[in-house]
């Protein structure tokens, strides 16, 4: 039980620390690396929640796919000039206050409802296992969203290729 808390604390600190660093860096590549750190910490949280399939999917797709895309584009549009300019826009104070107010609202809701979320009973039956359970759910109950997601990916692929093509 203590190991649960230690793991959660470790991954939570890593996630929050990496994301704060990501939002404040001047160098875009450093921001990308810290986002990778935050995503890896999130994957660790998934593993700690015993969702092992989402753990590997997060690493393969998010860190190994989406972030590689980000890093490639950052290398293609890198402007050393932009690193010397002002990094935060003119509305930063108003925006910051508004974001914190939003956060405080949700925090209040969480405070009011603390302890109301019931913990699950300890599960004794682990079959079907996580991957198989997700597979069964995806292909039985959620078949339509699955097909729509594949069409969405196809459309996004075509869109990205068209947008990034050089018009010769």
């Amino acid at each position: 039980m203590a190991l649960n808390y230690i793991l959660f604390a470790f991954f939570a600190v890593m996630a929050i620390g990496s994301s704060i660093l990501m939002v404040t860096r001047r160098n875009i590549i450093h921001s990308a690396v810290f986002l990778i750190g935050a995503l890896l910490a999130t994957a660790g949280i998934f593993l700690q929640l015993q969702a092992e399939f989402l753990f590997v999917v997060q690493i393969i797709l998010y860190v190994g796919g989406i972030m590689v895309l980000f890093v490639f584009v950052i290398m293609l549009v890198n402007l050393d000039v932009s690193m010397r300019l002002v990094q935060f826009n003119r509305q930063k104070w108003v925006a910051g206050v508004l974001a914190l107010v939003l956060g405080a609202q949700v925090l209040f809701a969480l405070w009011v409802g603390r302890g109301e979320l019931r913990l699950p009973a300890p599960a004794v039956d682990v079959s079907p296992r996580n991957t198989e359970a997700i597979g069964q759910a995806l292909f039985q109950h959620y078949m339509l969203p699955f097909e729509i997601a594949s069409i969405l990916l196809l459309v996004a692929m075509i869109g990205a290729v068209v947008m990034a093509k050089r018009r010769v």
Binding site: I29, H30, E52, F55, V56, V63, G65, V68, F72, T131
Partner: protein
């Protein structure tokens, strides 16, 4: 021993010991694989290879390691220091983390994850960052180009290799590596005989994924100096090097586990015993092979021209006899020891065989140009892998639901996929002259 360790940490002791053993043995093993590569290259090129350092060059890796550790650590002036420092670390860390799910024997596995196979794929895909960040941090055109090319190549062939793996996964029914080996034991044959095309796709994909020839354009000496490794020297370069060879052993381990039966021996169900004992005949095979090699060494020893070489041959012969003795002793030991020793032996033999295939391919084929490489990956391997997957799935359904013989359905699936492969290859061959004539694209 169990009562000396508090029960709360008892489950963690053995994995930690395995981890320490792996991390300690791996750099030495990587160094000796480099020596092996140079010797095999020399043999294929009708020469001798490193012979100076130690008898027959056996201390060459030690000399290389000492040299690399003592070299000056140069950082380019405008390089991004944080990235420059992190990049080799990322490569090596990811290569080493992948070892935590690899089953070296029936009991020698640090963590048997439910999604072990996907975990190793995921960690291998994280190794891309070591290359990309290394190329970027060097602040040099050659490095960046090499890094981007290498990353593009890795991402493309990762997809194809993964699809090749999935076709074997269909037969195994689980993502846990231990259960995949168990499935091969239950089905009585290695998956390479059921899905040979999947094995071929994974072989090509894994050669490209580890940046080995003929797909080593990003790090070829004559092309981009050393690609993303250009600006790294001394210990940092050796980290990259270690990562590359560790990656090679990982992909060989995955291929062995999925396709070549893991730590099973060649005929796992052929359990004829030696008359009067409980020893199975097939288990005696390794000991006999070692004895044969030892006799050959002893026969060659007097024919060596120089005295030191006579001594070396005799020592090698002695070592082989010792190994044969260990094998035979393990046969009569407790069950766990016997399984462990023989499992480890067969796993290493298969991994070495796969790595020998890597080396063989390296010194046989010319290098692919980058556009040819990408064309091969996207226009040949990925469609072939998809067709293979569909064929194997259909074959499995046919044998389970419709009651056809499994062997017949698999052979039909293989023939169909071979036909598609030939069609794909001929399509590319026809198109290539047109592309060349148009001056490329």
């Amino acid at each position: 021993m169990g009562h000396l360790i508090p029960p709360s940490i008892l489950p963690y002791v053995l994995p930690v010991i395995y981890g320490v053993v792996i991390v300690a043995v791996l750099p030495l093993m990587a160094g000796y694989i480099v020596l092996l590569e140079r010797k095999v290259m020399a043999d294929m090129q009708a020469r001798l290879g490193p012979m100076r350092v130690g008898p027959h060059g056996l201390l060459q890796p030690i000399a290389d390691a000492v040299k690399l550790l003592l070299k000056e650590d140069i950082i380019p002036e405008k390089a991004d220091k944080l990235m420059f420092w992190i990049a080799p670390l990322v490569s090596v860390t990811m290569a080493l983390v992948a070892y935590s799910a690899m089953p070296f024997g029936p009991a020698f596995q640090i963590a048997d994850l439910n999604v072990g196979l996907l975990f190793i794929l995921a960690v291998s895909s994280l190794g891309i960052y070591g290359i990309v960040l290394g190329g970027w941090a060097s602040n040099s055109h050659y490095s960046l180009l090499g890094a981007l090319r290498s990353a593009a190549q890795l991402v493309s062939y990762e997809t194809a290799a993964g699809l090749g793996l999935v076709s074997a996964l269909l037969l195994a029914g689980s993502l846990s590596l231990k259960e995949i080996v168990q499935a091969q034991y239950d089905q009585g044959e290695w998956f390479v005989f059921s899905v040979p095309i999947g094995f071929f796709i994974y072989l090509v994909g894994s050669i490209a994924e580890t940046n080995r020839a003929p797909f080593d354009l990003p790090e070829a000496e004559s092309e981009l100096v050393a690609g993303y490794m250009t600006e790294y020297s001394g210990f940092r370069w050796s980290l990259y090097f270690l990562a590359e060879y560790a990656n090679m052993i990982i992909v060989a381990g995955i291929a062995t586990t999925l396709f070549l039966g893991g730590w099973l021996r060649p005929f796992p169900h052929f359990s004829d015993h030696l008359p009067g004992t409980s020893v199975e005949i097939m288990d005696g095979l390794p000991a006999m092979v070692f004895l044969g090699v030892a006799l050959y060494c002893f026969w060659l020893a007097p024919k060596q021209p120089v005295k030191i070489q006579k001594i070396v041959m005799a020592t090698v012969g002695g070592l082989c006899i010792a190994l044969a003795g260990t094998m035979v002793a393990a046969l009569f030991g407790p069950e766990g020891v016997r399984l462990g020793v023989y499992g480890g032996f067969w796993f290493m033999v298969k991994v070495m065989g796969y790595l020998y295939a890597f080396l063989w391919v390296r010194f046989t084929f010319p290098r692919y140009r980058f556009d040819q490489l990408m064309r091969l990956g996207w226009r040949f391997l990925i469609p072939l892998a998809l067709v293979n997957l569909i064929a194997v799935a259909t074959a499995k359904v046919a044998s389970q639901e419709w009651g056809w013989y499994p062997r017949i359905t698999m052979i039909l699936a293989t023939i169909f996929t071979l036909g598609v492969a030939l069609w794909l290859a001929s399509r590319d061959a026809k198109q290539e002259p047109a592309v060349e004539a148009a001056g490329g694209d």
